[in-house]
């Protein structure tokens, strides 16, 4: 197992280096002078320009600049945001919980609906339910989620007036974050009305973000179940006279879930990409909206660090999924 882990980490190293090179190169590839680009739309005086050049180390050879960049990033120094005037890492730490909270609920939504639906579709293969579910899943998979979000706003916020249009919580509630997760913090403070407000803000974005993972999970569960239901051990279990629920729920499901778990892990990239759109539509203060806003504010220090941090997160999660996969499925380790 340890050997497998080491092997995986060695494989990831070139990607890790590549990611830092990409982030490093980003600012230097921008059209025009990198310092002027980083200084934002206000520009700088010639004296300040030289100062910045010195400060960012642009007078050094490129490989030294890169080495400094990696050293700074490794010690958590990502520079200072031009628009918020705060260290980038601080902004990231404040905003990231919002994205995690949103993605977490999106994933829960996708799993709670997707897995049972996929199981039923597989068991009743070819039925009316199976066909309409697979049709719906294909629609979900083809959905432009930014439009889907707008539609839900029109219907649930505009027409029915059930949910708020944007933000994380009603403006009347204000308190110091403990964990950064609204749903948890409001409960820790014991404010039920605030909790309800947070939840009502969360529902639509989570559904929107969870739509594509839901479609993917439902399809994957169905096909994994179909494969397993044809296996000998399932037939044996049936022949032993076990109840249908036990055969499906225990013997088949356990094995079918292995590829499903992997699929869920691999949805992290999809979720973070989807968060860019979902957060923009719902004015959700997470890292996706932060990236888009920073692009428009020309706050390239933020874009650069966001690119690096998000890619690192996706890479780390994929690595963890790989390893977990090997833990549940010993056949992988041998290969």
């Amino acid at each position: 197992m340890l050997r497998y882990l080491l092997h995986k980490i060695v494989l990831v190293l070139p990607t890790l280096i590549g990611i830092t090179i990409c982030a490093f190169a980003f600012v230097r590839l921008l059209p025009g002078d990198p310092i002027l680009a980083m200084a934002g739309e206000h520009g700088v005086s010639p004296a300040r320009y030289e100062e910045l050049k010195e400060q960012f180390g642009y007078n050094l050879p490129i490989w030294q600049q890169y080495a400094h960049y990696v050293r700074d990033a490794a010690t958590g120094n990502f520079g200072v945001s031009i628009s918020s005037k705060r260290p980038v890492i601080e902004d990231f730490m404040t905003l990231f919980p919002a994205t995690i909270e949103l993605s977490f609920f999106a994933l829960i939504f996708a799993m709670v609906l997707g897995i049972p639906a996929g199981i039923v579709a597989a068991v009743k293969r070819g039925s009316w339910f199976d066909q309409s579910l697979m049709g719906t899943a294909l629609v979900g998979y083809s959905m432009p989620i930014f439009w889907w979000g707008l539609l839900l706003i029109i219907f649930f916020s505009g027409y029915l007036g059930w949910t708020p249009v944007s933000g994380r919580i009603g403006l009347q509630f204000f308190f110091k974050p403990i964990t950064g997760f609204m749903t948890v913090d409001t409960l820790l403070y014991g404010k039920l009305d605030a909790f309800r407000s947070a939840l009502s803000h969360l529902v639509l974005p989570a559904v929107v973000l969870g739509t594509i993972p839901l479609a993917v999970i439902a399809r994957q569960t169905r096909s994994a179940m179909l494969e397993v239901l044809g296996e000998d051990y399932v037939r044996t279990a049936r022949a032993k006279g076990l109840s249908s629920a036990r055969v499906i729920g225990v013997h088949a499901l356990r094995n079918a879930l292995i590829p499903v778990v992997t699929t869920i892990g691999l949805q992290v990239g999809t979720l973070l990409a989807g968060a860019i759109l979902t957060e923009t539509i719902f004015a959700w203060p997470g890292i996706g909206k932060w990236m888009v806003d920073s692009i428009f504010k020309r706050d390239y220090v933020v874009v650069q660090s966001g690119l690096l941090l998000i890619a690192l997160i996706v890479m780390a999660v994929n690595l963890i999924v790989d390893v977990l996969y090997a833990v549940i499925n010993p056949r992988i380790r041998a290969a």
Partner: protein
């Protein structure tokens, strides 16, 4: 089942008509795929005939008809079937012209990423060694970023606009092709017909392009279809974020972006462009599913 002539009906088979008929037989079993194909043909026609079909030019403004609702709703008129947008442009005409952009985006992106992916995949799979390692590491790297994020950053570097968005999306989608081609080439390279061609004196280029490549076409066609719909979605997302096609281009994502502020007042300016994107993407994905059934012998029902 296991004979290679049957696996790839599109490859050079002695009887092309027979190949096509086999293909169509398997494709048409899938009802969804046929519907998808039908819708797609309609979309192509709409795009080609937009100047004929559209009642107005896409950028003509009627200053007396801002945000006019669709014909069937109170306040709407037959003059503007699907209503008008915030500056009095006919929605229907803009949607028809928009079909041109979406199909163009799909076609250009798939062509570019196919070309790049085939070249890199062939080189990597054929030569192996350090060429393979270098190319595939870069592909892994591209796949390490969430696709929309990478496209966003690339467009930031290149500057917003439809063409740059297409370039960025091609680059982001291209590794999928490279991986597929590489895997297929590695599988085919040691087969007898390739060895035979080699013994007969075929050079590297001939072996790669004329001998091996045609036998890797099936997965490429399926992937190409899926990338077509992905490209449309991603370009619309970039347009929506304000980094793709720029207003007043009647690109569907861009139309949605400028419709956002009216979402609670005028449902039609938001609903129709998105519906157009969904229908297009869905039709292409349906075709993709059908192609997979028809071209992939592993999934083919006997």
């Amino acid at each position: 089942m296991s004979q290679s002539t049957e696996i790839t009906p599109l490859a050079a088979s002695p009887d092309r008509m027979l190949g096509f008929r086999t293909f169509w037989h398997y494709f048409s079993v899938n009802r969804g795929a046929v519907i998808g194909l039908f819708v797609f043909i309609l979309l192509v026609l709409a795009a080609l005939l937009a100047p004929v079909l559209a009642p107005y030019a896409p950028d003509v403004q009627d200053k007396t008809a801002f945000l006019r609702p669709p014909a069937w709703q109170a306040g709407g008129s037959a003059q503007y079937l699907l209503g008008t947008d915030a500056v009095g442009r006919d929605m229907l005409s803009r949607l028809l012209y928009g079909a041109r952009f979406s199909l163009l985006i799909g076609a250009v992106v798939v062509t570019l990423s196919l070309f790049g992916g085939i070249t890199l995949g062939l080189l990597a799979g054929y030569f192996r060694g350090w060429v393979d390692v270098a190319i595939m590491r870069v592909m892994d790297l591209i796949l390490a970023f969430p696709s929309l994020l990478l496209a966003l950053v690339l467009v930031t570097i290149l500057g917003p606009g439809l063409f740059n968005a297409m370039l960025a999306i091609s680059l982001v989608l291209q590794p999928h092709f490279a991986r597929l081609v590489r895997a297929a080439v590695m599988a085919e390279k040691s087969r007898e017909y390739v060895v035979a061609a080699k013994v007969a004196g075929a050079g590297h280029l001939r072996l790669m392009l004329a001998t091996i490549l045609p036998n890797c076409l099936a997965p490429l066609i399926v992937q190409g279809t899926l990338s077509f719909s992905n490209a449309i979605l991603e370009a619309a997302a970039l347009g929506f974020l304000g980094l793709g096609a720029q207003p007043p281009t009647p690109e569907w994502g861009t139309m949605l972006a400028s419709a956002r502020e009216f979402i609670l007042r005028a449902w039609w300016v938001v609903t129709f462009p998105g519906l157009a994107i969904l229908i297009t993407v869905l039709a292409i994905n349906l075709i993709g599913d059908g192609l997979r059934d028809a071209l992939d012998p592993k999934l083919r029902r006997s």
